[in-house]
Amino acid sequence: MPIIVRLDVMLALRKVKARDIAEQIGLNETNLSLLRSGKVKGVRFETLAKLCEALDCKPGDLLDFEP
């Protein structure tokens, strides 16, 4: 999959725990962990928007494309 999830980097930059973010955006911790490891088939715009809002970033900061 050429799409790389950079959520880990963003969490480290913002110094936030994954558990706190999961609670803040109302996402299952397991699902957030799957998203961090890139083991999901897709991300809803709704989830992406919540993550961007919580981490004060843009979708491009969370996702990357490496062909």
Binding site: L27, N28, L32, L35, V40, K41, G42, V43, R44, T47
Partner: protein
């Protein structure tokens, strides 16, 4: 858990209990109606030269009842299916497979009634009005075919759900 899901769980639990009761009642009925007399005759004929005749009579009765045995299989599978629904596993590939298996048992019942049962393909005659043109066995076979297809649709829906579950 939302209201629809709760209702599904409650209804499924009741149906699972009903199917379990029907299965055991059916088994008892099959034994008393079909197997008890020939078995008694076989035991009585054991010390006599008529033992083979009695054994043949028993096997004939058992063969006649194969459609009923297939329906017992359908009841047992239905019991398992609704038990799984009651546990909250509604849209799973296993449920789709069970639904197909129930349909398969109904089709097997039609198949066996065509081969073994002497009472097969007798049109159902209601007390009032014109008799039904198709027999109950054929009707059951149609329901079975429908359930097999429904089971496949269910499996496809479960696969789609599993796919959607991977989108966070």
């Amino acid at each position: 858990m939302d209201k629809i899901h709760q209702r599904l769980v409650r209804g499924s639990r009741r149906l699972a209990v009903a199917f379990t009761a029907l299965f055991w009642f059916g088994l008892l009925w099959l034994f008393t109606e079909a197997a008890w007399s020939p078995l008694k005759a076989l035991v009585a004929a054991l010390p006599t030269p008529h033992v083979w005749t009695a054994a043949l009579a028993l096997s004939r009765t058992l063969l006649d009842e194969t459609p009923a045995f297939a329906l017992m299989g359908a009841l047992w599978t239905a019991r398992g299916l609704f038990g799984r629904f009651a546990d909250g596993e509604a849209l799973t590939p296993a449920s789709g497979r069970s639904l197909s298996v129930i349909g398969g048992w109904c089709l097997a019942s039609l198949f066996f009634s065509g081969i073994f049962s002497s009472a097969a393909f007798v049109p159902y005659k209601p007390a009032f009005g014109a008799p039904l043109a198709i027999s109950t066995e054929i009707l059951l076979g149609c329901v079975g075919a429908m359930l097999v297809l429904l089971g496949r649709a269910f499996s496809a829906a479960a696969a789609i759900k599993a796919d959607l579950d991977q989108i966070v």
